[in-house]
C-alpha cells in the first residue's frame, strides 16, 4: 500500500520525437510501469532543449529533469544528440555548482525499440530524485501561489 501523503517528486522528461518519445510509447504498449511523477514533453530532437527550459523547470519547482534522445550516431538529424550531450554536460556541472545536485539531472539515450529501458530508467531516476527530497535551491518563490 502506498504511503499516505508520501513525498512525490516532480519530474520533467524531455523526449525526442524520433527515438525516446517512441520508446516511451512502446513502454506504454507493453504496459511497463513507471511512476506517474514523470511528465513527458515532446521535442523534435534532444538538441531542441534549451538550457533555459531546464532552468525554468527547476525555478517552477521541478525536482528532477531528464533529457532522452537517440543513441549517439543514431540521431534523426545526424548530430543533434551530440550537441545536446555537450550542452547538458556544461549546464549540469554549472547547476551542480549552484546547488542542484548532479543526480537531479540526467541525459539518457533511449531508442524507439527500448521501451523496457525507458521504464527502467524512469523508475531508477524517480527513486534517485525522491531520495534527494524536494528541490528548494532554484525555486522561484514568486511562482508560488
Amino acid at each position: 500500500m502506498p504511503e499516505v501523503n508520501a513525498y512525490k517528486p516532480k519530474i520533467v522528461a524531455f523526449c525526442c520525437n524520433w527515438c525516446s518519445y517512441a520508446g516511451a510509447d512502446l513502454a506504454g504498449t507493453n504496459r511497463l510501469n513507471y511512476p506517474a511523477d514523470v511528465k513527458i514533453i515532446r521535442v523534435p530532437c534532444s538538441c531542441r532543449v534549451n538550457p533555459m527550459f531546464i532552468l525554468r523547470a527547476f525555478q517552477r519547482g521541478a525536482d528532477g529533469v531528464i533529457l532522452c534522445g537517440c543513441h549517439p550516431g543514431d540521431c534523426h538529424y545526424t548530430t543533434g544528440n551530440y550537441y545536446a550531450r555537450r550542452r547538458m554536460t556544461l549546464l549540469f556541472s554549472m547547476l551542480d555548482y549552484l546547488g542542484i545536485e548532479k543526480e537531479r539531472t540526467r541525459v539518457e539515450w533511449v531508442s524507439a525499440a527500448e521501451g523496457a529501458k525507458f521504464a527502467a530508467t524512469m523508475n531508477e531516476f524517480v527513486s534517485t530524485v525522491a531520495a534527494l527530497g524536494e528541490n528548494k535551491r532554484l525555486e522561484d518563490l514568486r511562482c508560488k501561489e
Partner: protein
C-alpha cells in the same frame, strides 16, 4: 490548431493507481492546452524542382544510376574525374560468382551512356562547388584541360603511338607497365578521346616537341586549352565516388615495397587480363617467369583494429580471392595455390557454392591463419612465414608470387565532397545513409542520394542494385513539379538577429545563410545589418539553431520557445 495529450501510452496504460493516473492525465491535458494556446497556423511551403540529375562518379554505380534515370526520361549528367568512365570494374578481369568477363558486361553500358541523348558525360572533370538545396542545386563543374579538342578527336590513337615520352607509369594497369604522355586509358574508353598528361608532356613543360599535333589528322591537339568551369542546375545529386585499395606502406611485414612479386589483388586482375601488361599470361612482374607457387593473404588491412588498417570487413576480398585461385588453377593446373584466411565470409547468392568449388573441385589450399612475414630471398623466391591455426604448426612456404587482398577505402575525393554537399560521413569516410535499414540509398541531407561503395563496401551485384534503387528515389523526386516542405522549420526574427553565425555553424543541413539587409532605425536612418535567414526547403526542423542562438532570434515553428516554456510551467504548476 491541434495538440495531443498522450494519456493512453504515457499515462493510463502504465499507471495502475487510478487516482495518481487521473491527476497526471489532468496535468498532461493542462500542458497540451497551454501549448495549443500558443499555436500558430502552419503552412507548408513549396519549392520548384529542376528536372535534371547529377551523378558524381562514373563507375558501374554511377553508370547504372544514370542509365536508369535517363530511361525514365530525365536528363542526367555524369561527372568523372578520370579521362574515361568505367571505374574499377573496367580494371577487373572476371567477375564472381559467374566468372564472366567484366569488360564484356560493362563496356556495353558505357557505350549506352555515351549514346543516350539524355545522358551527358563530363569526363576528366570534378565538382568544384555545390550550392542550393533539394530540387534546386547549383553545381560548378571543373572540366580539366585535356589539351585535346573532344569534338575533333576521333580516338584513332595515332598520337599515342608517336609520342616520344614513353616511360609514364600507366595508372590503368596500376603502374605495371608504361604509357605515353598522350594516352587513351584503354581501348574501350568512353569518351574515346586522347588526353595529354601535363606532368610528362615535353611540349607543355618545355615548349619543345609538338609531335602529336603533327601526326593528328583531325587537328584536335590544342596545347593552349584551359580548365573550363561550367555551372549547371540540378534537382537531385547522386554520389557514386567509389573506392580505392588502401596504401600498403604501413604493412612492412608483407613486403609489398620490397619485392615486385608481392602484388595487390587489383594488380593481379591486370596481370591476368588479356588487355593487361602481360597479355593475359600470368607472369612474375620481376623476371617474367611463370609462378608455380602462389600465396594469397586475406584481410590485409581489413578487420584491423591496430590502427594501421581499417576496422571494417572489406566484404569483397574472400570472393575475389576464391575467384583468382580458381582461375589460376583452371589455367595453370601445375600451380600450387595457398590462401591464408582469418575467416572465409561468403554470404550472397551462389557465393558459398563458389568458394566450395575452389576448395573441393580446384584443390586450392585454404589455411586458417595469418601470415607473419613475407620476405624476398636472394634466389628470387619469396619466403612466406605463417601459422596454421587448425593444425597448430608454423609454415614456411617458398612462393613465386604473393597476392595481398588489400582493404578498400572510400575514394579520397569523398571527404571534401561531403563537406560541399553537407552530407554526413562516418569515421571511415563512408557516407551515412538516412536510415541504415529503411532508407539505405538516401543521405540524411535531402536531395542527396548514395550509390555504390561510397556508402559501404559492396560487390558488383549489390552496387548495381543500390544504383538502381538510388535512381528510383531520384526519379520519385524529379517527377514532382513542386516539393512540399515541412512547415515545422526554424525561422529567424531579423530584428533580434545579431549576425553572429552561431546558428549557421550548428546547422547539419546548411539551411542557414546570411545576407545584409537594410533596417529602418527609430531615428529614421537606415542601417545595413547582417542577418540570418532559414531556407524552409532545406531545414528539417531539429531546432539545434534555436538553442545555439544567443539572442533568441531563432525559433522553431510548432515547437516554439514560448510553447515549450508554457508546457514546463503547466507541468510544474502546483
Amino acid at each position: 490548431m491541434l495538440e495531443v495529450a498522450n494519456i493512453r501510452e504515457q499515462c493510463s496504460w502504465i499507471h495502475k493507481d487510478k487516482a495518481t493516473a487521473t491527476e497526471k492525465a489532468i496535468i498532461l491535458g493542462r500542458a497540451a492546452i497551454a501549448k495549443v494556446q500558443l499555436n500558430a497556423p502552419l503552412t507548408a511551403g513549396e519549392s520548384p524542382v529542376v528536372k535534371r540529375a547529377l551523378v558524381i562518379g562514373g563507375g558501374i554505380a554511377g553508370i547504372q544510376t544514370a542509365l536508369d534515370i535517363a530511361e525514365a526520361g530525365f536528363d542526367v549528367d555524369i561527372v568523372e574525374k578520370q579521362p574515361t568512365i568505367g571505374g574499377k570494374m573496367a580494371q577487373i578481369d572476371k567477375t564472381f560468382p559467374t566468372l564472366d568477363c567484366a569488360a564484356c558486361i560493362l563496356t556495353p553500358k558505357m557505350v549506352e551512356c555515351s549514346q543516350n541523348e539524355k545522358v551527358h558525360i563530363y569526363a576528366y572533370s570534378e565538382v568544384e562547388e555545390v550550392k542550393g538545396f533539394v530540387g534546386n542545386f547549383t553545381v560548378k563543374i571543373k572540366k580539366k584541360a585535356r589539351y585535346v579538342d573532344e569534338n575533333k578527336c576521333t580516338g584513332c590513337g595515332d598520337c599515342t603511338t608517336k609520342c616520344p615520352m614513353k616511360n609514364v607509369p600507366n595508372e590503368f594497369n596500376l603502374g605495371l607497365d608504361t604509357r605515353r604522355a598522350v594516352y587513351i586509358p584503354f581501348a574501350q574508353a568512353v569518351p574515346k578521346v586522347a588526353t595529354i598528361d601535363p606532368n610528362y608532356c615535353n611540349m607543355l613543360k618545355n615548349g619543345k616537341c609538338g609531335l602529336c599535333a603533327k601526326v593528328c589528322g583531325a587537328g584536335a591537339i590544342d596545347y593552349k586549352q584551359k580548365d573550363q568551369y561550367i555551372e549547371e542546375q540540378y534537382g537531385a545529386i547522386v554520389v557514386a565516388t567509389g573506392y580505392n585499395p588502401i596504401k600498403l606502406d604501413k604493412f612492412e611485414e608483407f613486403g609489398y615495397s620490397l619485392s615486385k612479386d608481392v602484388v595487390t589483388s587489383l594488380e593481379l586482375e591486370r596481370l591476368m587480363n588479356a588487355a593487361g601488361p602481360t597479355g593475359g599470361t600470368l607472369l612474375r612482374p620481376s623476371d617474367g617467369k611463370h609462378p608455380h607457387t602462389i600465396v594469397f593473404v586475406q584481410c590485409v588491412g581489413s578487420r584491423d583494429t591496430s590502427g594501421c588498417g581499417k576496422p571494417y570487413c572489406s566484404k569483397i576480398c574472400c570472393m575475389y580471392t576464391a575467384k583468382h585461385a580458381m582461375l589460376i588453377r583452371e589455367k595453370y593446373p601445375d600451380t600450387e595455390v595457398y590462401v591464408f584466411y582469418i575467416d572465409v565470409r561468403t554470404p550472397g547468392k551462389n557465393f558459398d557454392e563458389f568458394y566450395r568449388r575452389a576448395v573441393e573441385q580446384y584443390g586450392v589450399h585454404y589455411i586458417k591463419g595469418m601470415v607473419g612475414k613475407v620476405a624476398p630471398r636472394a634466389n628470387g623466391k619469396i619466403m612466406v612465414q605463417a601459422s596454421d591455426l587448425l593444425m597448430d604448426e608454423q609454415l614456411h612456404i617458398e612462393a613465386d608470387l604473393v597476392v595481398l587482398a588489400a582493404a578498400i577505402e572510400p575514394d579520397k575525393s569523398a571527404r571534401p565532397l561531403a563537406t560541399m554537399l553537407t552530407a554526413s560521413m562516418d569515421t571511415n569516410d563512408f557516407f551515412t545513409e538516412a536510415h541504415p535499414k529503411l532508407r539505405p540509398v538516401e543521405s540524411p541531407t535531402a536531395g542527396i542520394f548514395l550509390s555504390g561503395v561510397c556508402q559501404g563496401p559492396k560487390d558488383i551485384p549489390e552496387t548495381v542494385s543500390q544504383a538502381s534503387a538510388a535512381a528510383a528515389k531520384v526519379i520519385g523526386l524529379l517527377v514532382k513539379d513542386k516539393l512540399t516542405t515541412n512547415p515545422c522549420v526554424a525561422h529567424c526574427n531579423e530584428l533580434m538577429c545579431n549576425g553572429c553565425s552561431s546558428c549557421e555553424r550548428v546547422c547539419p543541413y546548411g539551411a542557414i545563410t546570411y545576407s545584409d539587409k537594410e533596417f529602418r532605425m527609430p531615428d529614421r536612418t537606415t542601417q545595413l545589418r547582417r542577418v540570418a535567414s532559414v531556407n524552409p526547403a532545406v531545414c528539417q526542423g531539429c531546432g539545434a539553431c534555436t538553442v545555439a542562438c544567443p539572442s533568441g532570434a531563432m525559433d522553431l515553428n510548432g515547437f516554439s520557445n514560448s510553447q515549450i516554456m508554457a508546457e514546463v510551467d503547466a507541468i510544474c504548476q502546483k
